[in-house]
Structures are given as C-alpha cells and as structure tokens.
Amino acid sequence: MTSNSTKVRTGEWAARWADLKYTLYLLRKNPLVMTGSIIAIFFIVLSLLANVIVDPNLANPTGYPEFGGQYPFERKFVWNKDSIINWGPGIRLYEGPEQFYLGTDNWGRDLLKMTILAIPVDMENAVIITVGAAVFGTLIGALAGYIGGVVDEAVLRTTDIFFAFPALVLALVFAAMIGRSIPTLRLALLLVWWPPYVRLMRGQILGEKEKGYVEALRALGAGHLRILFRHIMPNSIYPILVQATLDFGGVILTFSALMFLGFSPSPSLPELGNLAAAGYEHIFEAPWLIVFPGLTMLIIALAFNLVGDGLRDVLDPKLRR
C-alpha cells in the first residue's frame, strides 16, 4: 500500500515547521488578516524610509532657515490652496506655490510631511515598549511559573497591584514624577505593560510543566534552565506573540495619548499625539490638525490589531481543525 504523503522531516523542529505551515495557510485564507498585514508592512516600510522621503529639518523647532529662523506665518492653518471649502472664519486661502495635501499646522509646516516624520517616532516607541514589556514580563512569568513557591506568590501579588490600576493612570503618575523625556515615557509605559505577559507566560508554564515530556527530560538529566528555555518556552510562545501584536496598537495609542495630554518634551516634536495636541485649541478652525494624525494612528493600530486578532483566531487550539 502506497500513500501519497510527501517527504516528512523528522524530529521536534519538523513538527513545528508543519505547524507553522498550517498556520500560514490559515492566515492566508483570512482576508482581514491579509489586509491588515499589507497595511502594517506598508507602515513599517514607510517608517524606515520616512527620514529619507521627507527632510527632517522641516520639523525644526527653531524655524526654517530660509525665513531667518522664523516660521512662515502666512502658511499657518492653511488648507489646500485649491480647495474652496470654507472651514470657518479666520482661515485664509494660501496664495503661495506649495501644495499642501493635508493642510498646515500652527507653525506653517506641511502636515503631510510632519505626519510622515511622526510615524517612525511612534513605531519605534511601540516596538521598544512592546518588545521590552514582552521580554521582561515573559521572563519573570516563566521563572515564577517554573520555580513556583514563594517566588511565584511574590510575583503574583506584585502583578495584582499593577492590575488594580487602569493603565493610563499609572503611566501618568509615573511620567509626571519621573520626567518628560522620551526615554522616561518609554520606561513608564513599559512598567505599565509588563504584568499581562507575566500572567500569560506563567499560565502557559504551569500548563506545560505537568506534561509528560518535562518529566522525561528531567529523567534524562537535563538541567532546569535548559528545560525551561529550550523546550518549554518555544512551546508557549504563540499566545505571547498574539498578545504582543495586539498590544502594539494599544501602546501607540497610549503613548500618543500621553503626548496629547502634554507630556511631550517639546511642543513641535513630530509625533502623532503631539501633532493632534497642537490642534486642540484650534479644533474648529483647523480640524485637519487633529483629524489626520488621529486617522493615521487609527489605521496603524487597526492594521496591527487585524493581524493580531486573526492570529489569535488561528492559533486558538479549540478552533483549529
């Protein structure tokens, strides 16, 4: 009796490879995930190229050199010169040569260009915070779950304390106290974001610990660290990945919210929340100042959430065929 099965690789990694292929197959079938992935990749590429496409000096807080260090105030709050929409009193139509697709802000800077410059700032922060929180939280959770006992209790109680705060409050208090630079904001958000990973990883470890292969490995004489890092953790990684992808959007939103509330180191820093903050006082005069940066953030967060959500569906062991 012959069967048509293709050549099968043997071993642990072969099983993981087959699993991965199945996952990718399921992902490809889901149109929402594909859309999200494409948009996410677009933004990643954009953030890498942003400083090449747009001259970062245009964000210069001390004014444009060609205007003698001043800002070109006749470009303040201008909408696209070809549009005739009357946005309200006080808006002048721009007479100059430049074309602004998204309007200009209170310093006369082109909003489109500022948005492009802002994207890498946010993406970079999101990556650092998400990865940092995930790694940190996962490690602690793994140790807590594996070692158990007093360590586990201590870690649990600590996360309980963190969980009793709404995230924003904690980040605010941290940020207000520690300072207003970007690194300290990152630290503040990282401290807020790590507890869920601890719980997640701990839960996974507790489940895996009971499984047969762990006992087998111990019988073979493998050391604890080896078991933990080479065997248990790779098996538990999927929910962490899902959570990280979903958190990515949340971090961007929270970070920009902090900026919006006034924690940014400088008011002219191109960052999505900051740009929106500038528009807060002028919302009815120049709504585009808030609409477009916020919209950009929405799209980025949505893209990553689509991917993360689809990933979660696909990786849920109960929903897999």
Binding site: D160, A164, V169, G249, P287, P293, G294, L302, N305, D309
Partner: protein, 344 residues
Amino acid sequence: MKVYEYVIRRLILMIFVLLGVSILVFYLARGFPSGLAPWAPYIHPKMTEEQIQDVKRSHGFDQPIHIQYFYWVRDILHGDWGLTGIWAQGRPANEVFFSHFPYTIELSITAIILTVAIGLPLGVISALKNNKLPDHVSRIIALTGYSTPSYWFGFILQLVFFYYFSLWGLPYLPSSGASGMEGAVARVTGMPVLDGLLAGNLEYTIDAVRHLILPAFSLAFISLGFLARIVRASMLEVMRQDYITLARSKGLKERVVVYRHALKNALIPAVTLTGIFFALLLGGAMITEYVFAWPGVGQLSLRAVFQGDSNFLLVYTLIIAAIIVIANLVVDVAYIFLDPRIKY
C-alpha cells in the same frame, strides 16, 4: 470552601493590594521633587515661620519618606485625607473627589449600557455567521473601535455633532460639560440625569441627557469592540459543543437552539468581563472627560498629576484600586452563581 469564606479571603488579599498600591503611589507622588509640596495647602502667607514648622511637624512633612508614610496612614485612619492644592481651592481631598465622583459614575453607567447593547449583538452575529460577510463587517467595526484613539474620537464627534450640525442648521449636541442648566435642580445624587428625574424637571433631564450622549458614546465605541470579540469567541466555542447537536437533533428551531441553549453558556465570560470593564471605566475615563470637559474625577486626576498634588492622587488611586479589586471579586462570585457546576 463555602462562598463567604472565599469572599473573606479575597477581601483580606484586597487589603494587601491596597497597601501595595498606596505605597507605590506615595513614593512616586512625594518622593520626587517636581510635585506640589504636600504642606502647601496647609499654609498661607500670613503664617509665621513657627506656625509653618508646627504644621510640618504635625503631619510629618519634615520627616524622611518612609516615616511620612506612617503619618499619612495615621491621618487616613482619622479621616483626614489631606488637603488639595490651590487648583482645587485647598479643600479636603476626599471632599473634592466625592463631589465629582457622581458625574463619572453617570458617564460610566451609560457607557456600559451602550457597550453591552451594541457589543453583545455584534459578537453574537459574528459568531453565528462565522467567516461570512456579517462576521467580517462586525469584526471591522469592533476592531476599529478598539484601535481608535479616545481623544481623537471625542473630537470627531464634537466636530460633527456640535460644530457642523450647528453650522448646517441641524439640531446639535453640546460639546462640553454635563449640564447647561447648572443649579436649576436640587442636587440629590449628583448625577444630572437622575437629579432631573427625581425633581420632575423634564427640561433639565433632557438637557442632561443631551450632554451625556457624545461622551458616553465615545467611551462605548472603544470598549464595545473588546466585548464583541469576547462574545464571539465564547459563542463559537459553545456552538461547537455536543449539547448543541443534541438540541438540534430534538428538532428545535435554530433560533431556539441559539437563545435557549447557546447564549446562556456563552454569556458567562461576557458578563464577568462587563463587570471589570465598568470598574476600569470608572477609573480610566480621563481623556474622554478631558476632551468633553466633563466634571468627573478623571479630569480632576489629570490636573492633580500636572500639579503634582500627592494628596489628591493618593485618594484617587486608592479608591479606584479598591473599586477595581471589589469589581473583580463581585464578578468572580457572580460566576459561581451563573455556572451551576462551579463549587468553591
């Protein structure tokens, strides 16, 4: 163990959590020089140096941080929650908090109602028409809500429903505050809608409701996505269960199968989540309150943070933390009653 034993155990744990929270916030709030000097509300320019020293000593402001903490605990147990800074007219922190808390409660309750009213059906439809068009559509709606910056959405709502509607001559909704007719009605609960109803003042009530719509919807939009996802996942799992096959085999209409057999099982996690949501909304609606100038405790805490007012922040975080922990407890206990299989 019996239910009440479980509850007592959890309450004891809660005390530890609150202690931890208070220590954390205390250290952050008073440990850094950038904040408001905690003794500032107690003194005024006319006091002599000696009187100032007296004040400092009685509240322990001249001591190092860890000693100060015990002074603070002592004060708390005597009912003295500290005074706020100039930004809140130097009133006692708890008075400031509780005078504004009802507004936050009103907003949160309305937001939760909206969240459940929209999020629940969205999740159920998503599950029943899994992977077909209604599923994709409701997923996009849910995820969009999830991905929206709260301040941005608030603004968009204000822009459209307040500014443009009034520009275009349409009936518009107010963009800020909780009521346009302050003081027209006796303050009983502190919540404008309820007070209006209690006083029988229809105009006031309607005005309060009009003010409530936009901020509540802004909050709800973001949380309904989350709820819909949970409901969907839960429903999907339930529909695959054997007892659903049996119910169908009895010849029951599909609608009955869903409503009588599936929903009750699927909603258990959703109910527990809603409880926790409510608690979180109470504490975290800051940005929405800020954007809509809603006189709740969220925007107060924002100002307190900027002023570095440690007294108010301590009151705020402790009460909100207590609410969250209690909400968790309530939800866990509710779980016991909802699912007849669980016994403690």
